[in-house]
């Protein structure tokens, strides 16, 4: 395989892992927001009621499926791409992607403080992987 092909393959794997994580986390966050405070649901209907409420949300189930696919995509990526590239790249891309998706799809108020936190987390993850 040529170098360019290997690089393209590596970044495609990393992109798929990050995309699955972003989709899954946003769907789960949207499902939880729609359900409301789980502590209140647990206080009213107990732990079985809270678990029933979560498991009966189609958005949550879709999100959990994406997270499961993310897990297997990550296993595949870690077996074909160098860990020192794959681990920090997927983590950083996921943080940035989550912030963008949260602003666009969840209408969260991602203010300057939160953007700065995303940049610091990405830089921190890159440094931790050195």
């Amino acid at each position: 395989m040529s170098d360019a092909h290997t690089t393209l393959h590596s970044w495609a794997c990393i992109g798929v892992v990050a995309a699955m994580a972003i989709t899954g986390e946003c769907l789960i966050a949207a499902a939880m927001r729609k359900l409301g405070d789980l502590d209140i649901i647990r206080a009213k209907s107990g732990m079985p009621g809270a678990i029933r409420a979560v498991l009966s949300s189609p958005m949550f189930l879709l999100g959990a499926t994406c997270m499961a696919l993310n897990f297997f995509a990550m296993l595949f990526t870690f077996s074909t791409v160098e860990l020192s590239l794959a681990a920090p790249a997927t983590a950083s891309l996921t943080y940035v992607g989550n912030a963008v998706a949260a602003k666009l799809f969840l209408q969260e108020n991602v203010d300057r403080r939160r953007w700065l936190a995303v940049v610091f987390v990405c830089a921190g993850v890159l440094l931790l992987s050195k």
């Binding site: 789980l38 502590d39 209408q107 936190a117 610091f120 987390v121 993850v125 440094l127 931790l128 050195k130």
Partner: protein
């Protein structure tokens, strides 16, 4: 935006920070004892379930998922995200003080950056109130005031 978190909500965020990282570390220690698993030795995965470190790791990861979802039910995704990133710091500190590994200056710098990120976000409001939620709250307030009359 709501500004204040209760003590219970802070404890849930601390659980998010600790359970994933400690759970991963326990799984890693358990799998070290079990040995490498490959396609020809998949039965080792079954044996892994009888390793106390693996069992404790799985329990903690279930706890992580439960506390993460609870946090997302009252806080924004962009508020909870840095708390999950703090797990990297906990893993690095566990590596330094539990497993006595040396941390390079780069890693210490990474730890400082992630701690700063958590500090930035923790100082802000946890939840964006959407317009539809505000109108639902207003309707509830009107109904409550009507019921009180």
């Amino acid at each position: 935006m709501k500004h204040k978190l209760t003590l219970q909500q802070y404890l849930i965020l601390i659980a998010v920070m600790l359970t994933a990282s400690v759970g991963d570390s326990l799984l890693s220690k358990g799998m070290e004892q079990v040995g490498a698993v490959d396609l020809h030795h998949l039965d080792k995965l079954w044996h892994a379930l009888f390793n106390p470190y693996v069992d404790a790791g799985i329990l903690l990861l279930i706890g992580f998922f439960a506390s993460y979802m609870t946090a997302l039910s009252w806080a924004d995704l962009t508020f909870v995200m840095p708390a999950t990133a703090f797990g990297y710091v906990v893993v690095a500190l566990l590596a330094r003080f539990w497993r006595h590994e040396q941390l390079s200056p780069y890693r210490w710098a990474g730890i400082v950056l992630i701690v700063c990120a958590v500090g930035f976000v923790a100082n802000g409001p946890p939840r964006t109130e959407l317009a539809e939620e505000n109108s639902a709250h207003r309707e509830l307030n009107i109904m409550d005031s009507g019921a009180g009359r």
